[in-house]
Amino acid sequence: MSSNAKHLHSINAGHYKNTAGRETEIMPIPDIVKISLSQNIGAPCQPLVKKGDTVKVGQLIGDTDAFVSVPVHSSVSGTVTGIETQRSANGGNDTIVVIEADKKQELFEEIKAPEITDQPSFVKAVRESGLVGLGGASFPTHIKFNPKNIDDVHYLIVNGAECEPFITSDHRTMLEDTQNVIDGAQMIMKYLGTEQGYIAIEENKPDAIAKFDQMLAEQGITNIKTFKLQARYPKGAERVLIYEITGKQCDAGVLPADLGVIVSNVTSVAFFGQYIKDGIPLIKKRMTIDGDAVAEPKNVIAPIGSQIHDVIAFCGGYKQQPNKILMGGPMMGRAIFSDQMPIVKNNNAILAFSKEKSYIPEETGCINCGRCHQACPFNLLPTGLADAYEQRDAQRLSDLKVMQCMECGSCSFVCPARRPLSFMNKLGKAVVKEAGIK
């Protein structure tokens, strides 16, 4: 495997990595945390605590027997004041455990470093850690680390690309938790039986690449290498990353493991590297807080369940009235309607923008310029898809391979007519699914 001369189409979406040079700050425990029990793709957890219970840091508060699920732990010590239902960022109704923190942060007694001796105990430890894909998808990691064809998996790719503008939390993780990333990657490689590991980093983070190169050399680790990616969007998307490193085309619906690859986000790996040492589950998260409405943009480690306004208050509060707040980056992040929402495991950024920076551009007529086609990593024709969607033509949508779209937003970004192409692809997929076209 070597670097590919050919690259998939990509765009220059700008970097805005304003917070990259600043050391992460740890946020003090807020008065109240609201911990969602739906923090992963798959089944939500059932609460294991009730109103009035006292909980400690790291204590299991939600779990379920469903296959695609991950347990949830308390991020603070304190008293449960209620189990509530709250509208989540993606529109569903989530069960929320509200805990009033006593700020003593007493650690739960049963917490100890996991005993990992073989593959099943490794998978069990990953599940018990509460780990989900921290790159944004929140897919349960223990399922990803337990592929059916484990003997065919030869490569682990640690994704530290961080191609989204503004976000620097993975960058800070790589600089501040370098050893944990290496330890976590080695452990994962050992139990997945992969021969070669890559830490993929965009070339706009030379300090992170240099630090890994130096530490890997010092420790004599030869089966993990850094891989320099172009600093363009969306090089960190899983399917793009696999092509860039292995040269294999990963169509939608194909599991990376089928191509012999497991991809894991660098923050997930760093967390796991820490977890095998102290056994503290996933209860806090490093996030980039930025945007022109935030007084002091910086990276913050906050307890999971902290409300967004508390986190922003720690960053000096709002400098001007926020109009749009994003969970995640500006390209794929989700706009939320309230700053009272709690932080969840897969948040890697909270970006607050003023009215002036968050305008929704007016759509004009398509001029057929083809920039969307040139921007699409998978060579799709977003303008054709949009026309097919407007006619609700499921067959045409399917012929134009709408299902291959990963909604990276590159087409919408480059469109000079400001058409919401990526959004129409998302709706187009629903049309195809409804029509039942395979």
Partner: protein, 329 residues
């Protein structure tokens, strides 16, 4: 600011939440900038009437679009500057001494009939400026082919001839040198004369990634190779390579290749379809020039290929779409 206030009515919209700075208006602005070099050469060669005719065409185009939108109670679209581009390119396709009122008729055809009646920007099936020119050519053949002498000419004549006209009539001895053709000190439509000025504009557009180089390269390349083969077989006073360069610099090939054939709306999106489109333009141009009554064929070639565009694009989509190269096993 008071930080005890919660915000729970924030704006929600679909991602992405960033867009590039380049919009339709800026794209059109780039095209206008790219037309400046040949505008300057035209003024130098034909005098100040170039400025007047261009201004009349731009103003008429903008007013027609504005008026149409007003009348039909549609969203105003003149701000996107595409009418300015159409007006300018139409003006560049006219002789410098062309009557203003006829030019205004051309603008009416371009903007109202070809563009707005088909649904406005992005919906027209043929290039507005090209159709405007063809309508004027068919309606006012005399005025459209009565070329003023250049200010640099030393004769006393009041009308000049285009190199392609001379070629058609067999006045081989009167043909200007290739260097004169390249620089543009020749008779012809006012914006078409200078190959070098159009080339500068075209390279600027390619450099700014406004247009893809595929169509102009395929168009010009086809004209060149076609002429090379034709004159190689037929022979003549000049060498085949001389005549090939002559055909590339003569008439509307440069203007057509860089500014008309590359019109987004009426050219294909898929890169391979662009190649077919460019080659088609070159072929039709040369067939008209060598075997038909008209000395010049660029406008007809582009119009013909405009109409073919959906066919070529659909073919390319069927054949090459989706990029999913199968993995080698």
């Amino acid at each position: 600011m008071d930080n005890n206030v919660y915000y729970d009515n924030l704006t929600v919209s679909s991602s992405p939440h960033l867009v590039t700075g380049l919009d339709t208006r800026k794209t059109m602005m780039m095209v206008l900038i790219a037309l400046i070099p040949s505008f300057i050469v035209a003024i130098y060669v034909f005098g100040p009437r170039v400025i007047a005719l261009t201004l009349v065409c731009v103003a008429a185009s903008v007013i027609f679009e504005w008026g149409y939108n007003k009348l039909m109670k549609k969203t105003q679209t003149v701000g996107d500057l595409s009418a300015c581009v159409t007006g300018t390119i139409l003006a560049f396709n006219l002789p410098a001494n062309f009557p203003f009122w006829m030019a205004i008729i051309g603008c009416f055809v371009s903007i109202v009939i070809v563009k707005m009646l088909f649904g406005g920007i992005g919906r027209n099936i043929a290039n507005p400026a090209i159709v405007g020119r063809i309508v004027l050519l068919l309606s006012f053949a005399t005025q459209m082919t009565t070329w003023p002498v250049t200010r640099l000419a030393t004769t006393d004549a009041t009308t000049g001839a285009t190199p392609l006209g001379l070629l058609k009539e067999g006045h081989m001895a009167d043909l200007p040198s290739n260097m004169e053709m390249f620089l543009g000190f020749i008779g012809g439509s006012m914006g078409e004369v200078s190959a070098i000025a159009l080339l500068i504009g075209g390279v600027f557009l390619i450099w700014k990634k406004i247009i893809s180089p595929i169509i102009p390269c395929a168009f010009i390349g086809t004209v060149f190779v076609f002429a090379l083969i034709y004159y190689g077989i037929v022979g003549g006073e000049y060498s085949a390579i001389h005549m090939a360069i002559f055909h590339v610099c003569a008439g509307g090939v440069m203007l057509g290749a860089f500014f008309c054939a590359t019109d987004y709306v009426t050219s294909p999106i898929m890169p391979k379809a662009k190649l077919v489109f460019g080659i088609g333009c070159g072929l039709v141009t040369m067939i008209i020039r060598l075997w038909c009554n008209y000395p010049e064929g660029v406008s007809f070639a582009i119009l013909f290929m405009n109409v073919m565009t959906p066919l070529i694009d659909n073919f390319a989509i069927k054949k090459f779409y989706g990029g999913a190269k199968k993995n080698e096993k």
